[in-house]
């Protein structure tokens, strides 16, 4: 017999096996999920959830697909949070501090409460990456925020109304496009292909009998 625990889904009590995640516990209880369920593997941020263990003062946040149920867990899912996403033309923006001031000025209203960091389902240092964004250090902001799944829990806890995941998204795109070093071998290869340097090789492969291709494949040299 499985060990059961009591959980409270939106306040209503259910008894579920203790080895389930919050997501599978909801399904065990009978919920056919449409919202609040995406990749089921911790990458997409669809299943942001807040919970409190009875008697505990601290409100916690997690991804429902990555968190085991506990006894006396009060659970509310947060399948959507209204983040502010500003629209910009990636080819026209400049990688300077001013871009943050224009698009997301509220980051400068951060009061330093650190509620975002405490709430992060990925255990990122959210307040720190916002500080980097304030300073226009997009590379550091990009690195610090890299594992963000954009679930929005940080923003739900923010007294300054910051949409942290969108700020980080902008920083990463600026870093990837403008600040990261260019790639010479990539540019060379794109040009070589455009110039048709591989056309003959590819054309030969298109025509070769399968037996010859098998031989080619089975005897090919593999880089160590």
């Amino acid at each position: 017999m499985e060990n059961m625990v009591n959980i409270f889904l939106f306040g209503k009590k259910y008894s579920v096996p203790e080895n389930l995640t919050i997501m599978t516990a909801m399904e065990y209880a009978g919920y056919q999920l449409v919202r609040g369920c995406g990749c089921r593997n911790g990458f997409c941020g669809a299943c942001a959830t807040i919970y409190r263990i009875k008697g505990d003062r601290e409100l916690k946040a997690c991804l429902a697909c990555q968190t085991k149920v506990e006894n006396d867990m009060y659970i509310a899912t947060l399948p959507f949070f209204p983040l502010v996403k500003e629209v910009y033309d990636m080819n026209k923006i400049k990688p300077t501090e001013a871009v943050m001031m224009q698009l997301y000025p509220e980051i400068y209203a951060c009061v330093g409460c650190n509620a975002c960091t405490k709430a992060c389902t990925q255990e990122l240092n959210v307040m720190q990456y916002i500080a980097y964004a304030q300073r226009g250090d997009f590379e550091a902001c990009a690195e610090e925020s890299f594992d963000c799944v954009m679930c929005g829990v940080c923003s739900s806890r923010c007294p300054a109304g910051i949409s942290h995941p969108q700020v980080a998204m902008l920083a990463r795109r600026i870093n990837g496009k403008y600040l990261a070093p260019g790639c010479g071998h990539l540019e060379d290869r794109v040009k070589e292909i455009k110039d048709g340097e591989f056309n003959d090789l590819i054309e030969a492969l298109m025509q070769k009998p399968v037996e010859e291709l098998k031989e080619l494949y089975n005897t090919r040299e593999i880089e160590k």
Binding site: N41, K177, R220, E221
Partner: protein, 534 residues
């Protein structure tokens, strides 16, 4: 932290680690691989397949579960909606909001088309988001598109449509460049050189990555770009039936709100199916690494309207799905773990194969180790083999795991397993639909005009098995391609009278074939609820 029952085997793995790191396992010969696959790969289990008796692929074998939804009733009849009063009227209708759909939408928009995305969950709820390991492109001096072609053609058992594969490999470097210019952060050294590794079956190190969030990094960037371009996205709305016009060309789709079940008509000059894979069909009862909506919808939509399938009988079982703990059972353990040096080890601490054989061969080899050879580890939830992750830190130096595969470290860390110090348990998981709708090199189906397909819903690009890193590549190359060509075709298209006549036609074929079924399709979502009063 592993329980007592694992400790004996764990001790053997640790004891043999130094010796196993030094070992260079031999690769299998072509004959050994063929025998192994025929004996142990799930695609070769004849009793798990059915022969289709209606539709364009009549006589072909497909997985039993796929056969059931292909030969099923529509969710609607022709009179469920008023085709004369479309709710949406666009040039290009993109069905699916994953990597292929968003790439197609961006390119169609760039070409000046009026484009709309419809997706049954949110934009970005897709297998693209979960792709961890990387994306292939032959952009290093010791590599070439021709070498990439041979690797992929051989890995796919010489069955790929060559013109599709040639496009895949030749457009690959430009795809990486396109993503870079959108702001995707690839792993690079300080001088800008791409950090590349091997994948199973590659002969050159051409796997580009963004840590082990490669797909997530690509997907969130594409999503952001769709939003910046203000392309309309109708989310939580599924396409449930294609609409044709009186000339037999694709001309839109019937849509259904996933929450209210309200139906809408979307009229379009061209349609792009980018609905993704089928892991949530759980073929042969396998767990899956796929996202919640991977239910082969595009195959059903296309097939009922008359489009042909290619290689729908071939699936990819990723060799390293999580076997323990059960909370993440079936979740993907990226192949990059093996690219970085971790080897597969059995219950006795023995390395039983080269870790970078192709996925089908590796999966079959693990199944053999756990069945015929009796060398599997009992996990409490089936069998598995060890993937010796601490080898990575010994080979690459301390800190390699945190830097290169942080998602894996986090996923197991949540359950008290520190993959830097302890190995993990793996077993094959249903990962990828090799087959799908048959297309020409312009991305259009071979027999329905103005119906384009991109991404995992396409069959034939990879043949009968796909190499790691060629799927992220294919969604970009063929997503963009479909978007460009769909926009171009839309310019010369005059849509005729809309019809849903194919529904009744297919229904008659079912009747004539003597098929009686209660199943309606597309399935849209799996049902994991516990049935109390059923």
């Amino acid at each position: 932290m592993y329980a007592e029952s694992f400790q004996k085997s764990l001790a053997l793995v640790e004891e043999a680690r130094e010796k196993n790191i030094a070992l260079e396992p031999v690769r299998m010969t072509a004959e050994q691989k063929e025998t192994l696959l025929a004996t142990f790969h799930p695609d070769y289990k004849a009793d798990e397949f059915v022969t289709l008796t209606v539709g364009p692929n009549k006589g072909d074998k497909v997985p039993t579960e796929l056969g059931e939804i292909l030969q099923a009733h529509s969710r609607i009849t022709a009179d469920s909606v008023d085709l004369n009063a479309p709710d949406y009227d666009v040039d290009v209708l993109v069905i699916g909001g994953g990597g292929a759909g968003t790439s197609a939408a961006i390119e169609a928009h760039e070409a000046g088309a009026k484009v709309m995305i419809v997706t049954k969950l949110r934009m970005g709820d897709a297998n693209t988001m979960m792709a961890e390991g990387g994306i292939q492109a032959a952009d290093k001096p010791n590599d070439s598109p021709a070498i990439h072609f041979v690797d992929a053609f051989g890995g796919g058992h010489f069955a790929a449509k060559r013109e599709l594969l040639a496009k895949l490999v030749c457009d690959a470097p430009e795809a990486i460049q396109w993503l870079s210019e959108l702001g995707v952060e690839f792993d690079k050294t300080e001088d800008g050189t791409m950090v590349t590794t091997h994948g199973g079956g590659t002969s050159r190190k051409r796997m580009h990555a963004a840590k082990d969030y490669s797909g997530a990094e690509i997907m969130r960037t594409l999503r952001d770009e769709v939003l910046n371009r203000q392309i309309p996205v109708v989310d939580f709305t599924a396409a449930i039936e294609l609409i044709l016009d009186d000339k037999g060309n694709a001309a839109g789709a019937v849509l259904m709100n996933m929450e209210t079940k309200e139906l809408y008509v979307a009229k379009a000059k061209t349609v792009v199916i980018a609905t993704g894979g089928a892991g949530r069909m759980h073929y042969q009862g396998f767990p899956t690494s796929n996202h919640y909506g991977a239910t082969a919808d595009g195959l059903v939509l296309g097939y009922r309207a008359g489009a042909k399938l290619l290689y729908a009988e071939t699936l990819q079982y990723h060799p390293t799905g999580t076997a323990f703990p059960e909370q993440i059972f079936g979740a993907l353990v990226t192949e990059k773990v093996r690219s970085l040096g971790a080897k597969l080890v059995n219950v006795n601490g023995e390395v039983f194969m080269h870790p970078l054989e192709t996925r089908d061969v590796t999966a079959a080899s693990i199944i053999r180790e756990c069945s015929e050879r009796g060398n599997g580890v009992e996990t409490g939830n089936g069998l598995g083999v060890w993937l010796d992750t601490p080898m990575i830190e010994k080979i690459g130096g301390e800190g390699t795991i945190e830097k290169r595969i942080p998602a894996m470290m986090r996923m197991f860390g949540k359950y008290g397993i520190d993959i830097r110090k302890e190995p993990i348990l793996v077993y094959p998981t249903l990962h990828y639909q090799n087959g799908g709708l048959d297309i020409n090199v312009n991305g259009m189906t071979t027999n329905i005009t103005n119906l384009f397909v991109a991404g995992e819903a396409v069959g034939g690009i990879h043949g009968k098995n796909r190499l790691m890193g060629n799927s992220l590549l294919d969604i970009i190359v063929f997503g963009r391609n479909a978007g460009i060509n769909a926009a171009s075709a839309a310019k010369n298209t005059e849509v005729g009278t809309l019809t849903l006549d194919h529904i009744a036609k297919f229904e008659n074929e079912l009747k004539d074939a003597g098929i009686t079924t209660d199943t309606v399709s597309p399935k849209l979502l799996p049902d994991y609820t516990r049935k109390v009063n059923a």
